[in-house]
Assembly symmetry: C2
Homo-oligomer: 200 residues x 2
């Protein structure tokens, strides 16, 4: 279950679609590392964060018997929100994760306009939201808060965010063993700032 731009390699003939998938030494995609980490967080009772099911439009269903509905035709639809959301320490968490092979910048084509609008809303309604962006060739993964992301796109006409912006305004997420990608460690730092801002 993946979005069109994250489809499994084995299913795809056109290699140009695959470019956002293959990655790193471990052979794990960012998505599977996040899913693994979320599973770890749930099992250890740390946070309850899930990837949302892929949105599809079902156009044909067969009902051979009461229990066995089989979808015979369906299409992937453009997601109107982000891929991941959930709950951590009483806070609403919401984020999108993307990989790029580019070494110097992250193309804004990767984020749909309604996803940007969604992130804006989450930010406004006091949710904790961010992007996780992996530069696969460099094997560097960054967490960028929505407020920084919005500041960039509101003050730039560029169609991509240079990696230096991630280095300056984002947080690097180090590889780990359990969990694979401990992004909540960064969220803890963000929450410290968030709590202070709330107080003042």
């Amino acid at each position: 279950m993946n979005y069109p731009n994250g489809l499994k390699k084995s299913n795809i003939k056109d290699s140009s679609i695959v470019k956002t998938i293959s990655h790193s030494n471990r052979g794990m995609t960012l998505e599977s590392e996040i899913n693994d980490s979320n599973q770890y967080y749930r099992e250890e009772d740390i946070a309850i964060i899930y990837k949302k099911p892929t949105p599809i439009k079902i156009t044909k269903v067969d009902y051979p018997s009461r229990d066995k509905a089989t979808i015979k035709e369906a299409f992937f639809t453009v997601p109107s929100t982000t891929d991941y959301n959930g709950l951590y320490k009483g806070y609403y968490i919401d984020f999108e994760a993307k990989e790029t092979k580019n070494k110097t910048s992250f193309s804004l084509d990767n984020i749909h306009p309604h996803q940007i609008k969604h992130l804006e809303s989450i930010n406004k309604h006091k949710g904790i939201s961010f992007l996780i962006v992996r530069f696969t060739t460099l094997n560097e993964t960054y967490l960028l808060e929505t407020k920084e992301f919005l500041e960039f796109i509101n003050n730039n006409n560029r169609k991509s965010i240079p990696i230096n912006f991630f280095k300056e305004k984002g947080y690097i997420i180090k590889d780990g063993y359990r969990p694979r990608l401990d992004y909540l460690k960064i969220v803890d730092q963000i929450l410290e700032v968030y709590k202070c801002e709330k107080k003042n």
Copy 2:
């Protein structure tokens, strides 16, 4: 896009599956009323709450061209979480909605064991979670907080919750025009209590 037990009437021949759908004078299902209300909340910038896409397992996909992936075979899978979640006033909101034709009780068969486990976790991690249950024959809709729901199932061996429990421990949600089902009005009441408990 619906779960097997909420499938569109037009697609189904076996009338026994339809029993959770047909409802009320307006001819609107609980699900569509909640979706309408959530859309209203989003448009009015009140809350950002969505129904999650139906979880399905894709087993066959065709790629006639790069942009046109068509799912040729897929199956509905049992949801591991609830149907709805989102953000309201900085709080994480999570709930499941169910209809019953029964006039006297709500069968616990309607809620999967892993959904109960999920609601328990959300409750523990300080999310705001609840059930919305509509007794369609009576045209009465109740919001029952997870803590009350858990108290019932932990202290009873009954396989259904009597409607009187909803009357005593839940909140009735009145029909409205815009939004159709203003369940956030009840959440406001819950939040008042929640804030007081946090202070003490």
